[in-house]
Amino acid sequence: MENQPKTFANRDALISHVRAISPSLAPDDSHVSDTVGGREAGVGLLEKIDPIAYGRSRNYLGGAVSYLSPYIRHGILSLNEVRNFALELGPKDGDIKPIEKFIQELAWRDFWQRVYQQNPSWIWNDVEDYKTGFAPEDYSDTLPEDVSTAQTDCAAINYFITTLQTTGYLHNHARMYLAAYIVHWRRVKWQAGARFFLAHLLDGDPASNNLSFQWVASTFSNKPYFFNLENLQKFSHPQAPCEEADNLALAGSYDDLAARLFPNGVSS
């Protein structure tokens, strides 16, 4: 058995080696993220977190998010050490409110891992029925080509797809928008969307990713998650192209969109 190398002349040499020992990779899988692996990079990001600003701005694409998720996903940083570090940055009077959202997001990761431990079969199977007025067989098994190639008729959605494919990262709100678009606008099974995300996200985790997809789809929640263009504009401007003329399928009131997306009515 041959010991694999741990020193390389440069990043390109490392990438070539990874390709050489990964024969299952598709030939057209060519993107590499600027996000670098390793403990040093993870600790560097940890030292820059601002949990108070995060609490105020996290829902906006330009918000003070931490980018720690790939490092937490693979145990490069422990949830415990990230929490301990964040506590040091909180108010000294013991008021937890300003850092509550940051700590709660760490808790979501702990929660999903606990669910995974208890019910590994939930990762790829519907936990509950869809509440969208549709049966599982009404959803396509595969991702449409215009989605995988970022050629849909919605510019904001194409921007999210391209960002996912080139950087290996998507802001949480953009993940929700793209997941809802795939499942509800395109009526594709959440499993196909989950596979697409796992193939590209550096932080993609079977539990967090797939159970969140099920939350969007309504197979692990009380109702389907969807959004309208007004909401997307509020949180995604100016990063994503949000003009109505370029995103007509997303435009409308929530009632209008519900009637369009779920013509059989939403159950609970």
């Binding site: 010991n3 990779l25 390793g38 693979h74 145990g75 949830l79 808790a107 979501w108 669910v115």
Partner: protein
């Protein structure tokens, strides 16, 4: 009677309790398993991120089927004991179960986020959060 550490993709740091004393391993290894990564849906981006992470870790990297490679390494080093990180990942759990037929497999838990026992029928976040919240705001989760 020797021990070796099998580091897998869910626990990629040298400060994981896996490496803490009394661990005094003969060898620490990571298995680069193409078929496993394909089953996990990992593309080039993720694989590069993982390989970069391995560079500074105190492990030797071997390419091959995880179970077969670990068995061969155990045989070559006459190891009877494997230490690895506990994980809910069932693919890794199955490999640990298969190794257990011939070796002692010790599954070492990571530092807990909150010192909270397992809750039955965990389904909705707020059922968990209502119990976890008080501990989540304490250093080391109330340990």
């Amino acid at each position: 009677m020797s021990t070796f550490i099998w580091l897998h993709e869910e626990a990629l740091r040298a400060t994981h309790p896996l490496f803490l004393p009394p661990a005094n391993p003969e060898q620490s290894v990571f298995i680069w398993d193409d078929a496993y990564m394909d089953a996990m849906e990992y593309g080039l981006k993720r694989r590069v991120f993982l390989y970069e992470t391995l560079l500074d870790l105190p492990v030797e990297i071997y390419a091959g089927d995880t179970l077969e490679t670990l068995k061969k390494l155990a045989e070559a080093t006459r190891a009877s004991h494997i230490r690895t990180a506990a994980t809910p990942n069932p693919r890794l759990g199955q490999i640990m179960d298969a190794l257990s037929s011939t070796l002692t497999v010790e599954r070492v838990a990571d530092e807990a986020f909150v010192n909270l026992p397992e809750q039955d029928n965990l389904r909705r976040f707020f059922k968990y959060w209502n119990k976890a919240k008080r501990l989540a705001f304490q250093p080391n989760g109330g340990r």
